[in-house]
Symmetry: C2
Subunit: 241 residues, 2 copies
DNA sequence: GCTAGTTCCTGTCAAACTGACAAAAATCTA
DNA sequence: TAGATTTTTGTCAGTTTGACAGGAACTAGC
């Protein structure tokens, strides 16, 4: 018998990334095809284990972001939003996963069929409604991540992260409509974002659109916290929960 | 040479609990005195490692809550709010800690000087301002937990969790004032909470107070999401961030 | 060039909400 | 019975919201 009475159990630590973007005015999430068991061939969130014993968790998230998603890391917001560690969620052992939320502007179409697994942006609806089978508990993680994004849109300037460096007010409205899954009155939306101080600032030239009156361009303003917040219509807020 | 190229590093998983309550109209946090190294003798959050390999993280949080804090577990809300896993935060090795926020109603004074370490409720201000030395990165964790509570007070009915089963509107206002660290107009507060549907409901008898007009009693209503939200005055919101 | 179609932007108006404050109601104390 | 204290009900002006009308700026088709 040893002198040492009890040692705490150890776990494997992973990070999973919920990366959201807008494509054709609909919310999409980045998924990759798993190359190894378990769930080989299934779609899953980008992510993976800590690389070495001394790697910081946030650093691991950034590393996976560039490794698996090949995205411009610097430009992306990256926020921890949950931990998933239920015993049995991974057949390999006790795996605890830290989930991060990232928002990406619309990027140029990835060349279809590159060497990377041909998975890519998938409609968030198809994932959340269960049309698509996902590895592990990743559907649950995506649901939580999307809900977090919905809430953040109300109180923060996160919506601008979905847009490029400059954007029109209609672009911004598309973000709100896609993430919240509702439609908003353009006139009232225009007034609201304009008078929310520090949300967006004019960006010089006003040009765009193949048809209709050209829209003014804006860029993200200095404030990250919206005062007053954007209010989500009653039905929309009660869909979840 | 083995066939196995690489194995992911393992970590020790812990939970830490930020348990908040109100005492004498001020926000307090529950701290315990560490009985073992490292930081033996220092104040720290209640918490600890997973007990065995198959223990669920949330279950561990509940276990620690009853073990270390001796609180009526059932009545408490318990919400995960962050993960702290910076390498080097614990000299024993790579420890990753999942932080939970719990809100407790004002409890009967614990008999001073029981067998449990005489630590107990400490003023949140004294912790956050650095008057009190804490083990590990626990001050940081408390700061994040308090900030989470501040935000949740705006949009959820969390404030009622600080109160007993029945309470007066003034009791509720005390919660907001203590957590937000500001003072509010009683007339406007009264009107606001009354017309926020489902927040609080009348609870029969109306009695209380040694002096002044007796206040009506209420109990927590059915809604957990406040529509419209309680709005925190501008200065208060901008203190943080 | 003119008209129709489209999109963006500026107004308007009533209803609801907010912040500041007055004053009445219900109790205890002196 | 006269404060003192605390809760509750109002009031009032300024702001915000939601719903909707209509003008402005541009493209496409004739």
């Amino acid at each position: 018998m040893t002198d040492d009475p009890w040692v705490p159990p150890v776990v494997l630590l992973a990070v999973d990334l919920v990366i959201l973007t807008l494509r054709e005015s609909r919310l999409h999430v980045l998924l990759v095809e798993r190359g190894i068991d378990p769930y080989k061939g299934s779609l899953a969130l980008p992510g993976g284990f800590l690389q070495h014993d001394g790697e910081d968790i946030t650093a691991a998230a950034h590393r996976e972001l560039s490794e698996e998603a090949d995205l411009d890391v610097e430009a992306l917001s990256l926020e921890q939003f949950g931990v998933y560690g239920e015993p049995g969620r991974d057949p390999r052992g006790r795996v605890v996963s830290v989930a991060y939320l990232a928002i990406a502007p619309r990027l140029p179409e990835p060349s279809a069929g590159t060497d990377a697994a041909d998975a890519g942006w998938q409609s968030a609806d198809s994932v959340l409604l269960g049309d698509l089978e996902l590895a592990f508990d990743h559907r649950r993680i995506i649901a939580d991540g999307v809900e977090r994004a919905r809430v953040k849109l109300e109180h923060s300037a996160l919506a601008t992260a979905f847009c490029g460096p400059t954007f029109t007010i209609t672009d911004l409205q598309d973000v709100y409509e896609a993430v919240w899954g509702i439609s908003l009155d353009p006139r009232n939306f225009y007034r609201k974002v304009q008078k929310t101080e520090g949300f967006i600032v004019p960006a010089g030239t006003a040009r765009k659109a193949a048809t209709g009156r050209p829209a003014r361009l804006f860029r993200s303003g200095p404030c990250t916290v919206l005062r007053p917040p954007m209010t989500r219509p009653a039905e929309a807020a009660s869909v979840k929960e």
